[in-house]
Symmetry: D2
Subunit: 430 residues, 4 copies
Amino acid sequence: MTELKIAADLIAAENDKRAAALKSDYAALGENLSRREIDIDAITRQVADFFVAVPSWGVGTGGTRFARFPGLGEPRGIFDKLDDCSVIHQLTQATPTVSLHIPWDKADAKELKAKGDVLGLSFDAMNSNTFSDAPGQKHSYKYGSLSHTDAATRSQAIEHNLECIEIGKTIGSKALTVWVGDGSNFPGQSHFTRTFERYLASMGEIYKTLPDDWRLFTEHKMYEPAFYSTVVQDWGTNYLIAKTLGPKAFCLVDLGHHAPNTNIEMIVARLIQFGKLGGFHLNDSKYGDDDLDAGAIEPYRLFLVFNELVDAEHRGVKGFHPAHMIDQSHNVTDPIESLISSANEIRRAYAQALLVDRAALDGYQQDNDALMASETLKRAYRTDVEPILAEARRRAGGAVDPIATYRVSGYRKKVASERPAPAAGSGGIV
Amino acid sequence: MTELKIAADLIAAENDKRAAALKSDYAALGENLSRREIDIDAITRQVADFFVAVPSWGVGTGGTRFARFPGLGEPRGIFDKLDDCSVIHQLTQATPTVSLHIPWDKADAKELKAKGDVLGLSFDAMNSNTFSDAPGQKHSYKYGSLSHTDAATRSQAIEHNLECIEIGKTIGSKALTVWVGDGSNFPGQSHFTRTFERYLASMGEIYKTLPDDWRLFTEHKMYEPAFYSTVVQDWGTNYLIAKTLGPKAFCLVDLGHHAPNTNIEMIVARLIQFGKLGGFHLNDSKYGDDDLDAGAIEPYRLFLVFNELVDAEHRGVKGFHPAHMIDQSHNVTDPIESLISSANEIRRAYAQALLVDRAALDGYQQDNDALMASETLKRAYRTDVEPILAEARRRAGGAVDPIATYRVSGYRKKVASERPAPAAGSGGIV
Amino acid sequence: MTELKIAADLIAAENDKRAAALKSDYAALGENLSRREIDIDAITRQVADFFVAVPSWGVGTGGTRFARFPGLGEPRGIFDKLDDCSVIHQLTQATPTVSLHIPWDKADAKELKAKGDVLGLSFDAMNSNTFSDAPGQKHSYKYGSLSHTDAATRSQAIEHNLECIEIGKTIGSKALTVWVGDGSNFPGQSHFTRTFERYLASMGEIYKTLPDDWRLFTEHKMYEPAFYSTVVQDWGTNYLIAKTLGPKAFCLVDLGHHAPNTNIEMIVARLIQFGKLGGFHLNDSKYGDDDLDAGAIEPYRLFLVFNELVDAEHRGVKGFHPAHMIDQSHNVTDPIESLISSANEIRRAYAQALLVDRAALDGYQQDNDALMASETLKRAYRTDVEPILAEARRRAGGAVDPIATYRVSGYRKKVASERPAPAAGSGGIV
Amino acid sequence: MTELKIAADLIAAENDKRAAALKSDYAALGENLSRREIDIDAITRQVADFFVAVPSWGVGTGGTRFARFPGLGEPRGIFDKLDDCSVIHQLTQATPTVSLHIPWDKADAKELKAKGDVLGLSFDAMNSNTFSDAPGQKHSYKYGSLSHTDAATRSQAIEHNLECIEIGKTIGSKALTVWVGDGSNFPGQSHFTRTFERYLASMGEIYKTLPDDWRLFTEHKMYEPAFYSTVVQDWGTNYLIAKTLGPKAFCLVDLGHHAPNTNIEMIVARLIQFGKLGGFHLNDSKYGDDDLDAGAIEPYRLFLVFNELVDAEHRGVKGFHPAHMIDQSHNVTDPIESLISSANEIRRAYAQALLVDRAALDGYQQDNDALMASETLKRAYRTDVEPILAEARRRAGGAVDPIATYRVSGYRKKVASERPAPAAGSGGIV
């Protein structure tokens, strides 16, 4: 039986307070949608079946190169993190899986699995880390990892990825996500072609050991931590990687990893068309890889991405099952609250995309009726689907208002008393 | 009595078809808002009192340097344009004023005024043009206008602006908007300081003749048509202009005239704080000065701008009455439809901003509760206020669904038969 | 015998004035380079063998959507344009080929060929135009061309490209460049996948008719004239096109067609590595597709691109022979002067790249000596190679100082008296 | 007598090896410049008199939020840092001052002063830090410092700045630089106006205590560490601060703190024109606040900034004496080498700007001869002034080739043996 961090009674009591309003709003929305020939309950069921993975690192307070300001009750390790993740899932019923980051989350695999079972959580893609040096590590990644000029350093980075696969196999993961910070800070520092050749060769080694039922996700990013060139800098390079490696290799799209003004939803469409969309690291951003909460800055963009996903489902694209993961840095909020909110925003975008009248849209596209095509998307987007989201949570045993319920629960205060406060972080890096 | 381009009966008949649905949606929204202690009728009244000016040039099909693809029934001159503008206002009841552009809209002032009276339209800010050469013009603006190195060219540009004021006085305008393309394409081409000194001196001449009850709006823009430097490149320079000129000078913010990633709503806040926000050229954009339809690309950004305006109203900022104008280029839509849609989107952002719980927001800001502060804005934003917008239109005699009603009216077909088709435009500029 | 637009005597006389200074500077540079174990004469010969094509449209004054300000002596058609191009080549000895744009440059093919022969010019890649409507054209490209939803419009666009190939065959061209403006201004207006499928099918038709010794260049561009999405938006999509079409299809890189901050030289390296770099449209830019003179804004970036090209040559990459073309819009300069200057700047970047000590660089890259790797590039870059460029021109019969010599020649004044002045252009598009 | 970290003999011996080549190159350049009516020795003297401050934090290895990879011999505190700074100055003779950062550099003021005297270094602007929490600090800056909603937190931040002034007074500093990370990560989190009012009030408190012969520098930055809004986001806001505070307040321009594509040199010109340019934090960048080595990415941009400074000097702008400071993060190089190189690059840009023929440029600007104006700047820019820089160093007792000489000296190896290696840093922040 699943161990619940928040008392079921408390959730029920909080839900009761909001029952009448939800019922009224749900009925009104249902009536409106029925006029658009949409069955609200069908949408609610689809939303209830949509899940997004939570990153283990997301439940700790993030930071910048300038500072990190930890909150109360920071998780001390992977088991605390899993506790926090279970709270998010309990309240949202949207996040049944956790994505681990090695080496930080290294632990006895059986204990990990057992802890997940107790909490009702399973494990999504494994994440390797070769962008920083672990204590006692033999070769430094200061000048790269999988693409390093030194063969021994590359071997070490390959080995680390193989270890991630091994851990993942024991806990039921089915994918490895590889993001490297490899790149350069100066023109001339790296030879672009030789560096990429080394990267591809290293990835080939990793790919060879990948179990048949696993997928390999590679992630592109324009810049940071390298500030002149990055080995996997954009989706064009990412596509070449997936194509070179083979059928189990796919591209991961982090919404914050693109050049200013990039049309991300079109990249998503291209990767779907060429069979290489692996999945997402969801978040929002205004400037760079800001890792803000999904939907916080440009919610319409998030909707447009989901519009492509629902369209692909609608067209019955073969082998289409992208992975959805949150990847955010929570610097000024309670990380649990941000992840609850983000899971809801992601479902919101999905629900809105489900409401698009695709037959009408198709007609407008054929007729080049740009205004009505745009209006068709916006009509779906501006529908306030909160009653659907709340009802989907409620029916699954989650909270109608998960943030308020979380606050009432006192979970943060409880863990703050159990977990010692870390020292304030001050990088001194300017 | 106002001359109506669309039969009132037709509008009434179209509205009747949608009456039941609107009533139901309006009631449901009213019930929801009442739970949030908001009186829906009060909001509807505020929305009905919110107006935005239509630019005369907006009713013609726009274009790019590569091509222009005119539509059917393109207006042949200012009187056709005013006819088209009246259709927009009749259906939306949101655009009672038109902003003229000289020399294109030059006509006998009495006839202009009379035409406006017949159509129920009045005149907003006058717009001068010194970014292109008019036929027969003595001095070319190829190398600048108000900041040109040649005194005679500057004088000609000043005279043109004085003429715009004169025309405006006779038709009831109360503001002059000055946007110049002056700048440079090469480092070294212009001396930044001397050029700006000349610009300020020229503007000083214009300012001196401005009637006491007029306002002078200057508009900044990062680039285009100049591609290395622009004299009035950003709000910092724009502020210095308004400050140098005097109390009747204000800054105009075109939403598409900023650097990538700029936080425009903060610029709006700064200009309000320092008493120099004149108003807006509203539109939307993804890359540069794309001049797309307001709310088409980043609707949340439009909301955030209006959030600042409603906040300033709420705080009772003294002398706060910004001018709202649409400035768009309609390349692939019927311009009338785009302007109808944009007027609605602008009102939508205003209505959403009115729904923000400002007392709660203030509390969250004081407490640094970033998550709930964000959620407070988003809760207002995601409210589907379409019933309010539709009801505001309906009560004022406009259309519940103005695009559909416009299409039923056959107005475009009618003017297409009356107005000869222009030749396809092909600049040949690559 | 080649018809010379500038008297050879005049060039010789101008060169004489500068002979002593050039000799002195060339000797001093030679001495400096010899200390770096570089033979200046070998470099001068390589530079003298480097050529770049001039675009026929480049010799006319360009413009923006706001205005076009023609200069004196604007070419009236392709034969005037060829005259102007011959002046550029005569003075620089760097531009023996011209790239035509159809339909503007349509003329009797034999006459074209004959005119080229007389002037000592031959013909580079053909350029089709389906981004604007030609007078009398049956189907409009307002909503796209090769990717249009309407089959008849696509067929017309395909036919136009086939015609370009036909013309090209008769005048000795060996490549077709296809750039389309197809895209959308609104989310929803186009279905990304279906649109790209149609584009690929149309391009497949064109590719089928391409002669065996021709190359097909496709050009990506982030935005403009479409402002929400563009069918061929970036190099990732461009690569997919070239890969889908076949071995004669290659990607063309226009330096101004990328997102802000993009590392273009890395894209060049990737396309070389995967065998798909077709060539360049050279220019410079600060904001978007500004089409400014090559090297005017970021000369180091131009150098870094040429560094990749020289590196590929150095490594003996198989089948590596990219096409070099200028593509600029000359809005505020005499177009002939800008093209002279740009041809020199392009050769400058090439000459600087030839000076890079590649053995040393390779060592620094292996050792992760970022500082000295950077310094190795910069040492080559900061070498003032003007004496090499001037000497290469002089030896081939061109001008030591081509701009000054052009001004002394009076060519512009002469054609101004022969060619009637066009009316000032004023789009009225805002 | 100054304590020298590198033996003077060693420098002399290294210089001797390069004496003949330098003599030859200097003579050749001198001859070339004399033809342009420029006296090379006058330029060399001006260059020798140009200095730039080194930031104390620059001699330690920097990092990103992902990782920090320390090098050998990292300085353990301010006294080690001063040793390192003295090496930079000894070799370049360009960096006689150091800019301290409090609290990191806190030490007994007398000892600091004495150490500086021994090393021949003095102290530039003081830098306060309220963007991270110091151990034991009472109020956290997690949600802001000088603009915090809580008065006690603001007071604490004010007090810290007053302390910086106090320390500065004892060691001979004459300026305080204030950069705050205050801002927000979510729309709604901060009230833009109230936040800025609080910031201005806090700064007013600091300004009041500023000694009469001090200057107060405020620094704007678009984003990071705050990712939605930043209180001092651009030069427009920065100008308003300086104007509000009074005549001792000036704007500091960090070259990496602007929006993509921003014309920074024009901002410099505007601040000069309105009497508010305080100085610079010099560095280079491709994406954001990358803090790369000055001149490493866009050297022409650095030149264009110095072109404005030399132009202002040339025009005799009253009270014009901007402060020049380096502000970089050295992640993949030996920090001492990067600072040596950057000091040279900054002098290079200055030397090139001195070579601009300002009378000719003025004429071209008057005549709108854009091509020759551009060429006038580029002619100066492409002059290889390395012989001037080397000669200026040599004459002052520095190294002809300071990087090579530094490497020969073995300084890094020596301090590596004296200073214990820190643990590899791994933030674990993703």
